[in-house]
Symmetry: C3
Subunit: 346 residues, 3 copies
């Protein structure tokens, strides 16, 4: 349950999200919740058959639903819309902004900021933050507690770093980005060459460019390039514990789910979807709008727009047929063995 | 080798763990170790044939063993018990408590604690810790250095956060929990909807509930729910680098090994065992006492109590038969190809 | 593009890396870059056909290449060597050292260092660092901001911890090691025993030994041993988000790519190569110079020197044959089903 400080009446809510209001009383609501935990001041939504019973039994003060379910929620205060979940979430976004504390633009006195750092406007810098020489921090940037930002880093306007993020030197972060706690951006790419029976380090002198509107999940790691830049394109969303190797270049608006790993120099197109725990080999290209199923291992380049699955990843339908056939493999194998022995088998 | 400050005599040890003492001399011991590194003051244990030689050659001052091995450790100071490893580890636990420095209940002066934070008893707060408004900290809680705890978090009695843990707002942690370094609890769930060709963020306004007796390994991440709560049930143990998506609900006493990842809204029962690198799809249910082999990909709900393996995960025995049959697949394929060409093949 | 403060002439560069200089003019250069981003002061290299066009079109002031490509770079300032990439990277390493700011040997006043900590020489300790009792810090060690080092840890000469590293008590780190941000070394091994229907914690009283010349990538975790030590051998290189379970022992100069996970008590030989997302079961041995393909699941011990792939990992060539045969499995299965029905099928 998310309780907001400001209350909204059902009339106000109806004005915000549109839809048809079916209950005359105009009560005040102060929270959004799931059906089970709802109280008289809660707003919930209903659009799934399997959750209807819970909704009917809930104490929620207002239910956002659609025409299909409206009849089955007789005598309940409801607002009828086309897409209940979507309208509900739009309301939440609206309410969060309405309710937000006015951002305090303070720099905590314990922060250690090099005098050469430039601020393009008002910023919020938390306790124990360290910002090294020649960084450029945009307007309305929020840098959470315990973050470390090495020299010559730039962070665009309205970006937010949650506490405990580490940014190595010369990394560029665009505007409107969200970086969650524990993320490390710009650590050395993983490059070694065996010489005289030792792994000699290849210097990693490139950088990382995070474009605008990117969100990066907790404890993910994005390595700096050997030369040039590792690039995360505009609007990409990375989940937790994702690993991006050096010199990868990811296009726009792609989704990388949790624990995905890209080896070095992998090129990823726009609107690509990589499900959880997918791995990709280095020096390959994943075409735009490709969708790759969970745990797949991408061993070679994938064309645009297809669906892929498996290790090595192939066309998803083909892989599904293999998986179905595999279930009969032990029986097929038994017949095969009989044949080898010369027995009659069919 | 773990050296304790307080020494114990073999008589005292025998009194602590029970068992039959077979050596008259009553020497003082001060450490537990592996056989190879043992010295005259070491206690080791012996219950495996493959390690017997090392034990015989060791300089250990006392060996905890069972009847089977007792004869083969003639002239050595031994204590005979039913379960040597278990008794040995019970001794270690006992000794650790005996030896523990009296917990210093201090709040480091560098900690930044909001005046509204409530403490239910004595606590230990390390250097550079930040605790925001309205948090409730239980009795005997230890919060390690550099931890960040956002507003309205509660932490139950006797829980311990190792250094460098990040807790986002409104997370609840039960009593007797252990949270290792680098863990991030309560970061935003991974929810986006493509609208106008951009990934629009779905607000994540739920929370996380960690119940009592939970241990969470280093650098694991547990996301907050979209609505409601992501729940880790009583007594669950999570290893390192584990990812729990938003709205997952895990039952009691389940084990999640390292690098396991659960997508959103996955339901896990009680006493479930997920081996290393297992992934689970979202919106499925894993039945209580299910055991799932390493690297398995759980694509659909699994019934209670079975053993499962593979991607997609199926009955483990069936998967083993498939794996055996697969080894002959290249030969089967050769015959298949000959057949297609019309050659005689058997 | 990596810009250096000190400029080098092409004559100086030729003197550093050897090779044949083919352009009379002796211009001053100040950066290394990729071909596309190069300017008149850039050095680039060329040894791949597929990148030749980019190199020809680039504005680079100097190109390091070999005899094969020299002819196709007429009228460009070039230096001809046997191994362009290697020579280029040697130059970068040289230049980085030449250009390095003189290391400032300062201990930030905000660092909290127990009076019993010993320093073997000059060290650099960043802001907010915490070092507990009885640690031993070698000569020329650099400890980045926000690191936490628990009691009785030793760190060898010339080792570097990037910001935000956590080291638990009694861990030993050798000389010339590089530990990237977010790494956690020495957290409790993952050991529990089910007793009275609860997961009882097995105390983890061993330690971790990181030998000399080891590099550990961002957010990796290395657990302490139950007894004895978890060992990372000399010269090993671990990428990001790698998990090493308790009591693992890794030999010398092995490479573990990103997101690799080793369960407890796994023994890894020398010069082993584990590609990304490989998992290994516990209590097995991976022979020296074994190479294991990405995402493989090592379920049993592997002999020395082979190439392995798959889950469970087997000889890589055998696995490749299986993968090829699998593509025809749906067709084989169709014929098999016809046979079962008694239809003529070949």
């Amino acid at each position: 349950m998310k309780v907001f400080k400001q209350k909204l009446s059902s009339a106000e809510i109806s004005a915000i999200i549109g839809g048809e209001k079916q209950e005359p009383s105009d009560i005040l609501l102060n929270n959004v919740s799931e059906a089970q935990e709802a109280n008289e001041s809660s707003i919930i939504f209903c659009e799934q058959e399997r959750l209807l019973e819970e909704v009917q039994a809930s104490r929620a003060g207002l239910i956002i639903t659609n025409q299909t379910f409206a009849k089955r929620l007789a005598n309940r205060p409801i607002i009828i819309v086309d897409k209940p979940y979507f309208s509900f979430m739009s309301l939440v976004s609206y309410w969060l902004k309405l309710d937000a504390d006015e951002q305090e633009y303070t720099i905590d006195p314990s922060a250690k900021i090099h005098p050469s750092v430039s601020f393009a406007g008002k910023v919020s810098i938390g306790a124990n933050v360290i910002i090294k020489a020649n960084c450029q921090i945009g307007d309305n940037v929020v840098i959470g507690e315990n973050c470390y930002i090495d020299k010559e880093v730039s962070i665009g306007a309205n970006s937010r770093l949650y506490p405990n993020v580490t940014i190595y030197e010369r990394v560029h972060i665009g505007k409107e980005c969200i970086i969650h706690s524990g993320v490390v951006i710009g650590a050395d790419g993983f490059g070694f060459v065996l010489m005289d029976n030792r792994q000699q380090k290849i210097p990693q002198v490139g950088t990382v460019e995070i474009h605008d509107y990117v969100e990066i999940g907790a404890n993910s790691t994005i390595d700096r390039a050997t030369l040039g830049a590792t690039v995360i394109g505009e609007g990409c969303k990375l989940d937790n514990l994702v690993q991006i190797g050096h010199n990868c270049v990811i296009g726009k608006h792609s989704i990388l789910c949790a624990q995905v790993g890209l080896a070095g120099s992998t090129i990823v197109g726009d609107y690509v979807y990589l499900a959880g725990q997918v791995g990709a080999a280095g020096h390959i290209t994943i075409g735009s709008r490709a969708m790759v199923g969970a745990q797949s291992g991408i061993a070679a380049s994938l064309p645009e727009g297809g669906k892929y699955f498996g290790t090595p990843a192939i066309d998803a339908n083909q892989m599904k047929r293999q998986i179905i056939a595999q279930k009969s493999l032990p029986d097929m194998y038994r017949i095969y063995r009989k044949k080898l022995k010369g027995e009659k088998c069919d």
